[in-house]
Assembly symmetry: none
Homo-oligomer: 197 residues x 4
Amino acid sequence: MKMTKRELDTAKTREILIESAENLLQQKGYEKMSVSDITKASGVAKGTFYNYFNKKEEIIFELNKRHMNGLSNKIKSLSVDDPSISIRRYLVDFLQIIVNSKVNLARQWVRFVAASSNTEKWQYDNELLQKLIKGLIKSERLKPNTPVNELSILLTTEVYGIIFSWCITPETIDPVKTINSFCDLQLNSLIEPYVNK
Amino acid sequence: MKMTKRELDTAKTREILIESAENLLQQKGYEKMSVSDITKASGVAKGTFYNYFNKKEEIIFELNKRHMNGLSNKIKSLSVDDPSISIRRYLVDFLQIIVNSKVNLARQWVRFVAASSNTEKWQYDNELLQKLIKGLIKSERLKPNTPVNELSILLTTEVYGIIFSWCITPETIDPVKTINSFCDLQLNSLIEPYVNK
Amino acid sequence: MKMTKRELDTAKTREILIESAENLLQQKGYEKMSVSDITKASGVAKGTFYNYFNKKEEIIFELNKRHMNGLSNKIKSLSVDDPSISIRRYLVDFLQIIVNSKVNLARQWVRFVAASSNTEKWQYDNELLQKLIKGLIKSERLKPNTPVNELSILLTTEVYGIIFSWCITPETIDPVKTINSFCDLQLNSLIEPYVNK
Amino acid sequence: MKMTKRELDTAKTREILIESAENLLQQKGYEKMSVSDITKASGVAKGTFYNYFNKKEEIIFELNKRHMNGLSNKIKSLSVDDPSISIRRYLVDFLQIIVNSKVNLARQWVRFVAASSNTEKWQYDNELLQKLIKGLIKSERLKPNTPVNELSILLTTEVYGIIFSWCITPETIDPVKTINSFCDLQLNSLIEPYVNK
DNA sequence: GATGAATGAGCATTCATTCAT
DNA sequence: AATGAATGAATGCTCATTCAT
């Protein structure tokens, strides 16, 4: 499916706006990044922003979507491995994405998620994990009586806690290392009763 | 140490300002709470706020100080008990304080802590835990080779993660219950190697 | 005079634009009705509006023209009747047209007419009345010394006042009833000296 | 009751804002007069406007209040005169006030009153007239069976119609002359049945 | 210490209009 | 003739902070 030159142009403008916003978000934070900042950095007129987004807020959702894309695709391939390994791999991937996007962006994300009782993001992440666990049950890697819900909540909470702590003391916390040591120490004993050998 | 009537008056004004700010913070969040809101709610003139605080931001620090007061006093009494019990008690107390202050205030706290690389708060909480663990070592409840630092970081991270998750989905997460089940499942096995029997 | 298919299409587009504008004018008022609103409601692109009208304002003139069309045709047939009856009939028709177009549209009309010293509309209405009175003189229903100008101004003023009052308190004023009682009470005595019996 | 220097200053600022607004309203109309225009013309900062008025709209009410002040005080003194004379005097005064305030201001007033179904102003004017008529009944200048309501509505409608027409064609209409000739021709015959001789 | 008027930068958002395709 | 992306001026309003009284 080809794009006309015009469609290409608008896609490009959209892209530039999103990238500029990402940079600014990292530098200044959501509240201090004005729409004007974004358009100036993008080299377009202020009004142009509103040709692509209805509200300033919308650009945050956009950024999230991009970052977490791909993760959900991996779920399937992970579902057939050894549970302890595949869960670890998933958690590490998740945190790696966050780490890659720089700590300031993560901070904004924390602030945004915590601000309004904006449940969606948490729910989404929780459901991805549930999908993974259910996949492992289906492929008979885990027993049918595995407490899917409790397990996914526990793991999401763990991951969120790590991100949060990382935001606060990035020098002290290495998210990937932390999640690995969590897996070493606790994950195995948590899932052991439900693993099919 | 006595206060003159004048000193009492100004102490009272300060008190009222802080209380009003706490209420408003809960209702509206930091950004949407204006200095004007605070002074109106306190029944004083707008300018009066600046007789007590240099910047709007300052009042947040004040609030934090108050909430976590008292907790540090308990440390000593806890240091002589059974490690698993005393650590659990401390963590439960910590979360109980947060829960008591309502979810909206916790949200603001999360937002604030995450915003600037405001390390202080995290450090402070982490140090309290270290004090507790060191106390337990001193009273020979825990072995000298207990990895104080790793353990305190792990526990702080856990607690912060729970608070964060609670802010996002208060219906799903009961912080006290969650920390208890964390202690049941994981705390014991974590500290077991270091417990003096 | 036939239209080609193309001419028909463009005539239709024009029509749709005008109709959409009329609806929106009623609902939102002139200032709050954007060109974008009009084109969206019409199912055409924003730019299309400017193929048919030079400025947003122009569409108002268009609407006015349409509404008052037809009224001028009746003048001739009315000119040969009993003066008191034909003038009353004319005034009632006039107000009926306004009433039919809903009070919100009338309000916009009032606002528009009052805004700029937009004399045209008033002049036009006044001249129609003069035509009627002159017709009645010509058909010898009224005497030649009838003060055409004074009379038409007086009547136009009366009618405009009723519309205006109706816009303000539509519950209190029934335009048609009001004009009828005006005719009952005052019209007869006003024109009596000039009626040929 | 004295005013402190400070109170005097704020009263003065308020005054200047209102005066500037009145001038601008006359020149540009409500929509095209920005808050910025008002404050610039007043020589104060933009924010200052909002120390005195909550919304831009509020200044219109303020202006109306001022213009119509005084009229209501006259009611009492008029109530004891010959009905036809006192009513005429009242109507002439009313229109004189409008005429004095320049046609462009009257236009804005018409636009404003017609915009929202802003009934208040009409009601207020209608009630003033009712007060006058009731006063005349009380002082036995008019009979008790005078149809107060019908009469006041009829007269308010008449006056509003004249103002409206004047806004549209100020060259054609002289409001005071028009109301006088209305009184000559119609008022007497309207109230005659109810006058006590 | 208390007051509250004044400040003015700052912001999100709207919208009529243009114009290259 | 139709499109719709781009424009950028304009606007109402907020608010932390200052400072003369």
